[in-house]
């Protein structure tokens, strides 16, 4: 279980959403992202917000977790907002010094900003309700038709699985090395940027070497158990689509349809 929460992203649960096939969830996320670019005005956001709210509610993931994903890109959101606000030409609203906020600028900033926020929240939902292992399985299954044109679906999925599996191991290794160097008087905390970057060498060099050593051992262990790559490998846990997956896919299709219509302004015509 600890491995599942490794990236700080999986929120354990057994909701209807959690139980869906990973492929369905990946497809949904794709459609969702596309939908964000299909709508033309704020009314479209209503559909998107309502749908997102419904899904989050069913998944029982606390909203605070959804907002976590925004932290790292907070600056980008602010940047986008500001650029749009001040750089768009049009009818002036407020003037501050030599900077002008136009009505169009304000509207654009809000529109683009909202799009960005919804983009991040919606896509972080995918990793919140899907275990990393199931995610890589789903990606492999979705990509496997591509093997006919040379996409190494199995190898990509295996790489992702191994990388995820070793994150806790490498974190542990980092901790050990850090403590060993600190016991020799290394200081990772004080000093300016340059000094701190230099102080990372006693940490990074042994860590890299350990990583390569682990990789070599793993490769040998896999080979010793006859691993030869993906061809003709069978699975222990087959993933099969269930009724709820069909329902979710149908929902996705309806959603996409509704958004396309909105983008074309159909609703405005009807009202």
């Amino acid at each position: 279980m600890i491995r599942d929460i490794t990236l700080g992203q999986y929120y354990p649960g057994n909701s209807w959403i959690h139980q869906l096939d990973a492929r369905v969830k990946i497809i949904w996320t794709f459609v969702y992202i596309i939908s964000l670019f299909l709508i033309q005005d704020f009314w479209g956001y209503l559909i998107i917000l309502a749908t997102l709210g419904l899904i989050v509610g069913v998944s029982k993931v606390p909203p605070s977790f959804m907002l976590r994903g925004l932290k790292p890109i907070f600056l980008i959101i602010v940047f986008t907002f500001t650029i749009n606000m001040f750089m768009t030409k049009g009818t002036p609203l407020i003037e501050i010094g030599f900077l002008t906020i136009t009505r169009e600028g304000f509207r654009n900033a809000l529109f683009m900003g909202t799009r960005l926020v919804l983009l991040i929240i919606g896509s972080s939902l995918l990793t919140l309700v899907t275990k990393p292992i199931n995610l890589t399985d789903g990606i492999e299954k979705l990509l496997s038709p591509g093997q006919k044109i040379g996409i190494p679906a199995h190898e990509l999925a295996m790489m992702m699985t191994i990388a995820l599996r070793f994150i806790p191991t490498l974190l542990e290794e980092t901790d050990k090395i850090m403590k060993a160097q600190m016991a020799r008087g290394a200081d990772f905390e004080s000093g300016n940027i340059m000094k701190r970057a230099k102080s990372l060498i006693p940490l990074l060099v042994p860590l890299f070497i350990s990583a390569f050593r682990i990789a070599q051992d793993l490769a040998m262990a896999m080979e010793a158990r006859c691993y030869r790559g993906g061809s003709h490998r069978t699975r222990m846990n087959g993933i099969k689509l269930k009724k709820k997956d069909a329902v979710a896919l149908a929902f996705t299709a309806i959603y996409l349809f509704a958004v396309i219509l909105q983008g074309q302004g159909i609703y405005k015509m009807l009202l």
Partner: protein
């Protein structure tokens, strides 16, 4: 130097679902120049305990007095602690990183603020002290050495800081019998030359019995037993219940006593066992 540990308690990940108590109310002393052995099942808290001694971990409660100064206090400089107390982790060869052996061993002294020349002088001393050929090895990359050599270089890296208390966490882990014996001889030699205090954490009861002035027995975060090797290893049943074995000679004597042979209960080393058996056999002869 004098080290007093008082009522040390440590809790990992407090307040999270992964909270676990690693140490509960541990107290002991280390006297000037003492050789202390720490034994205990995996998970008994040995590693946690020794990481408190050089300031890598801070306790939830309790004190550690080094020469009268509480190192768990707020205003203590880490470099002052690490100057006095050196810690060699398990598999220390994984911490090597420099371009040459000399530079790696000099890393510690340089961190303590010594001048380049002084640091290199100490590095040379330390490399010789661990039994390596300085001229041959100083300019080589640590990564082209054998496992046993790497380990010695790593230990030299800590010795170069000339700690008054040297803590070694299973320094013989993964070594073949000869390398094992060499490393222990080296530790004894260091102890005798620099007259420092040593803490040896080990699963090898024979080593602990042979070398320690005092033994600490840990179990599930508590200090269960303290005493001289004789005192501790006499408590065979208690040790067994903790999942710990006796030194092989002591175990053999215990088995003999259980079979009715009147041998002493105070045997710890091979030499003592040999003498005791010789005594027994010659006494039997003279009786006949």
């Amino acid at each position: 130097m004098q080290v007093e540990v008082k009522n040390l308690t440590h809790i990992y990940s407090e307040g999270t679902p992964y909270e676990s108590v690693a140490l509960t109310d541990v107290s002991f002393e280390i006297g000037e120049g003492e050789f202390v052995g720490i034994i205990g099942h995996t998970g008994s808290g040995k590693s946690t305990l020794i990481q408190h001694l050089n300031g890598l971990l801070k306790p939830k409660s309790g004190k550690i007095l080094v020469d009268g100064v509480d190192i768990t206090g707020k205003d203590v400089k880490m470099s002052d602690i690490r100057r006095k107390i050196g810690l060699v982790f398990q598999y220390p060869e994984y911490q090597l990183f420099e371009e040459t052996v000399r530079k790696d061993v000099a890393f510690g002294p340089l961190n303590l603020g010594l001048a380049q020349e002084e640091a290199e002088k100490r590095a040379e001393e330390a490399i010789r002290l661990v039994g390596l050929d300085y001229e041959e090895i100083a300019d080589r990359s640590p990564f082209e050495l054998s496992g046993g050599q790497k380990r010695r270089v790593a230990i030299a890296g800590v010795l170069a800081m000339q700690p008054e208390l040297l803590i070694l966490d299973e320094p013989t882990a993964g070594l073949d019998p000869k390398a094992h014996a060499d490393v222990l001889d080296m530790i004894v030699r260091i102890h005798e030359t620099s007259k420092n205090s040593i803490i040896l954490v080990s699963h090898n009861m024979g080593d602990i019995a042979r070398l320690s002035d005092k033994v600490l027995v840990m179990d599930r975060g508590r200090l269960i037993l303290t005493g001289t090797p004789s005192e501790v290893f006499r408590q065979a049943e208690l040790l067994e219940s903790l999942g710990l074995a006796l030194p092989p000679p002591a175990q053999m004597m215990r088995d003999l006593r259980a079979a009715g042979v009147p041998v002493s209960a105070d045997i710890l080393t091979i030499e003592e066992a040999e003498e005791e058996l010789y005594r027994l056999l010659t006494a039997a002869k003279t009786d006949n």
